[in-house]
Symmetry: D2
Subunit: 311 residues, 4 copies
């Protein structure tokens, strides 16, 4: 029953699964791990799943390029929710292994830069080899291929391992942002603390194109939260930009900025407007003077009066 099935970047025991389980509705869905972000999203595209949870931004590694590229191309999808998860690794070992026994370690390539300093300080001689996922690394440790794996502490039970060290993270406040992706539909209603995601392609021959793109937002007082360049695949130096803006597509300053982009950029893809995780409306900065919905309505009324000769 696809309507009750959510896929996620698997295998079981990943941070993505942990993030997914923070959603109340997860309790009533069939949660299906997939081998990759494309696989998780393709299940949504072809109707096998109602939604997919995938990582999109990481405070250490930045935008998750596999996710950004999948959302930017192929059949359109939309983001409906986001989940923020603090990231701390545990060093998982087979029961009985001591730190001094660890010669080889594994984990997802994204984990490596997040534990690099810890490794230098605590296991300077250990050999790192990448695994397809953190959970997969745990499985390989279970099978005896490596001595230890970096993964979420919650993965220990799944793979019959032991968390030798916990709370490992080079950076303070490391966290990952995940998004729940579904087929395009009407966005959720605005909450007062929302994020709008788009991908914008620039014309190849305009040096100031990014500047102009940013001005479409700035002139309407729309703040940006993420600007991530991604190659278009058409040769070195050709980029599109994944941009997250504060606000909701139904807010008029956001709507006008999006239309401005649509008019001036060769291509824009709307990825959704959705509630921000961990931010309540009272913590969101007030719109700049002159850019609230009331200001837009008043200006629009004034324009009507001018056009009627009652300005």
């Amino acid at each position: 029953m696809s309507a009750t099935r959510y896929t996620y970047l698997g295998p079981e025991g990943t941070f993505t699964e942990a993030a997914l389980r923070t959603l109340p509705e997860a309790a009533t869905r069939e949660l299906v791990p997939m081998v990759s972000v494309p696989a998780a999203l393709d299940a949504v595209r072809n109707g096998d799943a109602a939604a997919a949870l995938v990582p999109i931004e990481n405070s250490v590694e930045g935008g998750v390029t596999a996710t950004l590229d999948e959302l930017a191309s192929g059949t359109p999808l939309m983001i409906y929710r986001e989940v923020l998860l603090p990231i701390a690794f545990a060093l998982l070992v087979r029961p009985g292994t001591r730190l001094s026994d660890v010669r080889t370690v594994t984990g997802h390539p994204v984990a490596q830069p997040q534990v690099r300093n810890w490794l230098r300080a605590n296991l300077p001689d250990a050999l790192w080899e990448s695994a397809a996922s953190n959970a997969d690394g745990a499985r390989l440790v279970k099978e005896g291929k490596y001595d230890a794996a970096f993964a979420g502490e919650f993965a220990a039970a799944t793979y019959g391992l032991e968390a030798l060290v916990t709370d490992i993270h080079d950076a303070q406040n490391a966290e990952t942002r995940f998004v729940l992706v579904g087929r395009p539909a009407r966005p959720a209603a605005p909450t007062g603390a929302d994020r709008t995601s788009v991908v914008i392609w620039l014309g190849t021959d305009r040096p100031g194109a990014l500047l102009e793109l940013l001005q479409e937002f700035a002139v309407r007082g729309v703040n940006l939260m993420l600007i991530q360049s991604r190659p278009t695949g058409e040769g070195i130096g050709n980029y599109c930009f994944a941009v997250d803006a504060e606000g909701h597509i139904t807010e008029r300053r956001v709507a006008e900025a999006l239309m401005g982009l649509k008019r001036t950029a060769p291509k824009v893809r709307f990825l959704g407007s959705y509630p921000r995780a961990g931010v309540t409306p009272d913590k969101v900065s007030k719109p700049r003077a002159g850019t609230s919905d009331a200001d837009f309505t008043e200006a629009s009324d004034w324009l009507g009066r001018c056009q009627d000769g009652r300005g």
Copy 2:
């Protein structure tokens, strides 16, 4: 009958009257000279006249400040037409006067800088005194107060004078732009070659306010034709700006820019959208890519599809 009465900056014989007579409808109107721009406009405000023709911009002197200030303050008025008139002066004298007889000359203060070089070359010793208008100068010559007056050649007959020298103008292509002003009503339909006039007040405490004002136009691809600062009367350094933009208020790039100004500036006054004199639509530069009405409509349709989940 006020509906058939047009006032103009008098007295009879001014360039303004000559400009007014180029309008076809002038033939069927009662044309009434007034002593000043405020007087001509007040007659419209209080219903004594249907419209007033007043000078607004001069290629030598710039914006005509009396007109700009009157339009910016008081009961709102609107501009419906513009007239361009090449400006060349004649030196009017009493019949029989020779150039070597001329010791004193007069004319409107605005005329002086337009004939300064000619005076230096041809009448270096003549004493200039200002008159209330060029036509009034002619009258004073007639009365014997001065030896010669600069005025339009057409004023000679009115005052029984002789044009001793004609086609005097220091600058090449000197011309004055006049506007026909009435009480606010629906602007004339767009012609494809229109001008939109507004007055914009800047907040006093924002050093980059003019830059932001210009960006409201620039980001929507609206070209500016006139930017004239005028003091607000609230002390040195406090200015509002009279701005003329290419296009018509019913064109969407213009409308959105006007609404942007309305939202962000403390005060905006719409002075009208009206056909440009001397420019046909085929001579107007095409809107910048992405700023035509069709582009706006397409972007608006796309936004609607995004909001419906069909983006």
Copy 3:
């Protein structure tokens, strides 16, 4: 002796003379009234005078166009000082004249808009005629040509008239800014509260040219105090801009902005850096972060280290 002679916009009894007499050095100079701004400045140009005091900006009328145009063209001159003078008019009459006797009034055309409301309220039926200067109006009253003249109260004695009403000014805080102009020389040393004046010509074919001009200032954190468009005389719509910026040419943010203008505008004329009147350094807003001279020096040192491989 030209070195001790200062000209000013005369005749005797003008506000300009009053402004000039506020300068300490005026006590030891020969003060010579001239019939016009061009005449006052030409005396400096040809060596007949060391300097000239002329009005340049008025809180009611804006930039004084005759002065701006004279400074923008012809042999270059430079501004060395500014003087601010509150403007209030007295109604000067021949001794014995009562208000109810006044049928005709005169004054400089610039005075008219500053007393218009007072006239409407107090002398609604009086006929206005312009004089060549306020002082000249006083002279004409003395000679019996008009009943009353608007002029500075200080002019009464000069012309044997009586100040029937004093402190007339439609606008609160009306004041005029005058500048002391001399032949080009090294500007006075910076005081911490300085003004830099330039005239900038825009290319005719670039719609965003003014925006770019303003960005040359904005990107270096230089605030603008005056932006006055002036026609270039090359046809309607062709303008140059008189711009006053906060700061001194020897301050690096100002210097870099000026060089940026010089590089990108077709023509720039430097009119001087000089102390601001009525503002002490402690009242001047601090330069924006990153734009002080110390910041420029530090950045320049850093660049040198980068070029030496020690960045």
Copy 4:
């Protein structure tokens, strides 16, 4: 002898080695493969090697984050050369393996998105697992752990494998840009076709900070070739930007833009000015009017004259 030793991202047989061997000087250097980008660069930092060649930008994957992050942090290094290498993969197998025998494939995680479409079309059921490098994948195939590896065709000989399929690349014109990195020293002389690399940190509290950063380049006419956001590690939404600009630090428009960044951004790191690969000076776009070195010199001379009173 460190002066003759170059490290590179190993192991032997990587594209990085192939890129390094295109440098003439490589023939006379000891080329040492390292297990990671950090290891290759640390060898330079600690004096074990004179330089390191590492990948920095890929037309499919964008900026190589490990390289960008290493250059942005730690002991400063500088870029002296760049190498462009077209990227096409070969499917390396043990001799005798047929395509239909391939059940498992491996390769560097970066390779996966570049061969994804090919895999879908030709080996839809094959299971992908990531290897530490393309060359390491080849080694694992040699050892029998996987059936096939994506790597450069040149790696086949090194590992005793066979190229079953060659010229595999999902994207047309796929190429990777590598940089030769050394300890800081004077940059190479400008060639007329140069690239300047910097990393710029934005203040956390300024929504328009990126816009301002881009304007520092734009106002001086400096074109940008790469803008890559990288998290600073201080929480979601905190980014620095790796920016590549056209031109050389000794060119004045570039120098002034860099100083502008240094003044206004919290932190800037200069990564070098170096000749562009594959572009000759005649193919580089001319500087915008007013931004050539000659324009800067002329403006600087003019400023000096103004300051001397000879403007």
